[in-house]
């Protein structure tokens, strides 16, 4: 087909275009994540020591940094599906800062906080996946309707967003903190699942 013919065909389909708002896309993703957290935390019940734990500055800091990470990754995952926002340096800096700050805290807890003898295991991972199910389904549905110019990256970020919601949710329902097994059963599987999300994203976010 000649290019002129293609242009005629495409312009014949011209109709008023409704802009997909980036801000709205982010808000929707965060609301879905919040909904998932509230419903599942209610179902499982908050950790028995929540009232005492929430008064501890270190735990408050952990939740805040975790939440900051979830927010920044959510922004980045959505931005990656808008061609002119995909390379936003500010959002990338926010994600990196959140990741570095949170990792530093986990490292500090690993080295300095006495273990509460809670050994995390495969059940933790299952709960993370359950928390992540609704956000990941939403991101898959929403971002496929947009225009990712790096499908693998979008897949990775969408997975990371959903899984970090899961990790945050599990911290609300599971008491005890064994930083070593936390890394092994929470964070390492998350990295692996994000890699899988990246591979899946190559196919799922093609357009």
């Amino acid at each position: 087909m000649k290019t002129e013919e293609l242009i005629s065909e495409l312009s014949a389909q011209a109709a008023p275009v409704k802009t997909q708002s980036y801000v709205r896309s982010c808000v929707e993703a965060l609301l879905v994540a919040g909904f998932s957290m509230v419903v599942l935390s209610d179902y499982y019940g908050l950790r028995p020591d929540f009232d005492s734990k929430i008064a501890e500055p270190l735990f408050q800091l952990e939740l805040l940094l975790n939440l900051f990470f979830v927010l920044s990754v959510g922004l980045l995952a959505n931005a990656s599906a808008f061609p002119d926002r995909a390379f936003s340096p500010r959002i990338k800096r926010a994600v990196i800062s959140a990741f570095v700050a949170y990792s530093a805290l986990i490292l500090y807890l690993t080295l300095n906080v006495t273990s509460d003898h809670h050994d995390h295991g495969i059940e933790c991972l299952y709960k993370i996946l359950i928390y992540a199910a609704i956000p990941v389904a939403w991101m898959l549905w929403k971002l496929r309707r947009l225009a990712s110019t790096n499908p693998a990256f979008t897949g990775c970020m969408a997975s990371l967003f959903a899984l970090s919601v899961g990790a945050l949710g599990v911290r609300l329902i599971e008491s005890g903190m064994n930083a070593h097994t936390l890394i092994f059963w929470h964070y390492l599987p998350l990295i692996l699942l994000c890699a899988i999300g990246s591979i899946a994203g190559k196919k799922m976010f093609r357009w």
Binding site: T19, F82, P83, D84, F87
Partner: protein
Amino acid sequence: MATKNNQKNPNEERLHPLFVKAMQGDQRAYADMLSAVGDLARGYVKRKTGGNSQAEDVVQEILISVHKALPTYDPERPCMPWLATIMHFRVSDWLRKQYAAGAHPSVPIGEVEFFLAADVTTSPFEYEYVNKAIGNLSPKQQAVLKAMYHEEMTVAEASEKLDMSVSAVKVTAHRAYKVLRQELAKEA
């Protein structure tokens, strides 16, 4: 619409109003917008692909992508970063496919028909033609053609044997075809 340094980008000034009107459903503006994008994309694709014969296909891919992705463009924002990202994405995609196919190049039949295995008993004159034309090529060009067509090597194998990069083999082969075409056209 001004760039970061407050300098006016002529492409932005030309395209942005077309984008805005096109998104309002104006068919004429839509066609003008796609034409303007096509012109811009053609220059970009030519630079990135070295004037490959498939460049127009890539331009058409870009136009289709602009059409599909238009809902993700915010008319309050500049259009050039949005468009540039899509152009870069499609060209990179095409280049990736080309590199992946690099071991088995698809060469138009017209470029090799004169030296495919021919029945020499029916056209001995043509066989001598071709041999003479090949003899006028540089030693490097002759070596590349010999490896690819006489020894039936892939581009990757030929590059390894001749200690040349894959792109050097392709460029040498392409230049050899050009010379052969000219030589054989003269003889004809």
